[in-house]
Amino acid sequence: MSHRELFDAEAVSQTAPGSFAKKLADSGFPVLSAALLGIIVLLCMGAELIMTKDPSYMHLESIHQPPCREFIFGTDSMGRDIFSALWYGGRISVLIGVLSAVISALIAVLYGAAADVAPSGIDTAMMRLADILLSIPSLLAVLFLQAILGRADVLSLSFVIGVTSWPAIAKVVRSEVRRLQSCEYVIASRCMGGGFFHILKMHFLPNLLPTVMFMVVMNIRGAIVAESTLSFLGLGLPLDVISWGSMLSLAEKSLLASGWWAIVIPGVFLITLLMCITNIGNWLRKSFSAGENNV
């Protein structure tokens, strides 16, 4: 962490909450990333307005077309229009990302805070359990959870990714709460008779929020990667549910037919989206100082 960031950290903890707009303007907000992200998300949400073809219709007469006037981004090996599928599938990818990030953040904050409040023995046990859960390959966890939920769909996949991605955040939440507990203003508050819930509301939550916000953003990114990887490997969404991952799962066929467009175009969109989210996440971390030292 550079000196400038350390200063930011102090400034943030000293200023009253509410000067958010001013901070936003001063802190080098990644305008380009936010704008790109906004455009992509908006276009995905309004996919019906810009789609030129039905994304799931198979144009059997023009399988594996390179980009041309009719199919702007070409067609995949099942004859589906990539341009239309891109927006339609992006909606599902973004939705899964947001949903699973919210699920994991909820579990993580509750678990992390509970662990810190609990007696030291239980705290250690809870954190050890989080470590152990972290060590289970998510492949197995996903298979297992989906067996209970039935066929993989958007909701079950978000749930599965959310439920398997909280331990890392819970560990950070706990260490953050621990750090806050030895802060002088918290000690002062406790000495003056502040109860647990008073401290939680007045000191922990406002301080946790920026940290958690940064991690939720990063978890959206992680969930989008997880969805696409799982769908690509054939463990996530089936082919007929269009998402960026399931679009790419056809890529191996395109690979052999050297159809670069079916690999490159969805990939470029995916990476652009991830890059924008990362930049915003990094800005959040810098301006609210979640700190590198939570590792």
């Binding site: 696409s228 191996e252 995916l270």
Partner: protein, 328 residues
Amino acid sequence: MKSAVVYAVKKLLIFFAGIFVLSIIVFVMSRIAPGDPLVSYYGDRAEKMSASEKAAARERLGLDSSVYIQYIRWVGNAARGNFGISYKYRQDVSEVISRRLGNTLMLGGISFALVFILALLLGWFCARFEDRLPDRILCKTGTFVSCIPEFWLSLVLIFVFAVTLGVLPGGGAYDPGHSGDALNRLRHLVLPVAVLVMSHFWYYAYPVRNMLLEQTHADYVLTAKAKGMSSGAVMLKHCIPNIIPSYISFMAVSVPHILSGTYIVEAVFSYPGLGTLAYESARYGDYNLLMVICLLTGTAVILSNMTGQAIMEKINPAISAQKRGENL
């Protein structure tokens, strides 16, 4: 001396408790997970079997008793080094795994070592040019490269180097009949290792850069410079040695990160390692095999986490003091 023994015993207990809980979770999960082990053992014949034949087969394979009986039986056998047979390969699990373990260790080990060295060098380079053009370019490139999902990077590299240019093999660990040929194996490792290194180095180089910057802004650096030491020498003699312990502990804690990357890359390149094996066995319900793979992975992760923690406790007594509840 006595406290060292207590410390070691405590760590061992924590380690075994971790393995124990992990094995229970994995065992129960793998028994509830989908996939009929009879199908993977008998193939198509399982569907033609009558109900009584199926029951007999289940009994023979020990699949008929309740989950915890099966678990106790499994632990008893495992203690004697017998992890059961793989239903799919119809061989001892330990045999199937030992054939693949080397491949994964080679892929993971080479990538880990390369990432370790590369991240340190790049972090150093960035810190040297703090906030100047080379640093800024590297920071942007690093963030960009780390945003590329591993499976997509693998696809693109296969497309460019294997399909289009045809200079490197796009999958497997060696060509048929070349299993002993080191050069042939090395050629097959180039692309998977490249993917792993590219998608991980920034994750480690950036913290190195920040840790180094924290050092270079410290007062002792100013003192050393005032006494006539060049900034390069200060970096080499003071700053880097100072961050090495925390870097090593950071890398130790990050083993699962690279390991899971290895598994994904293996699956894309159909590289015959533990990752591909885990993926296959999960799909075919090959419980015995899956359990041992998960346990092996988990053991590696728990061990590396504990190593990282031990190093952290060694260099920062405040952490272990905090653990004992000595803070307010």
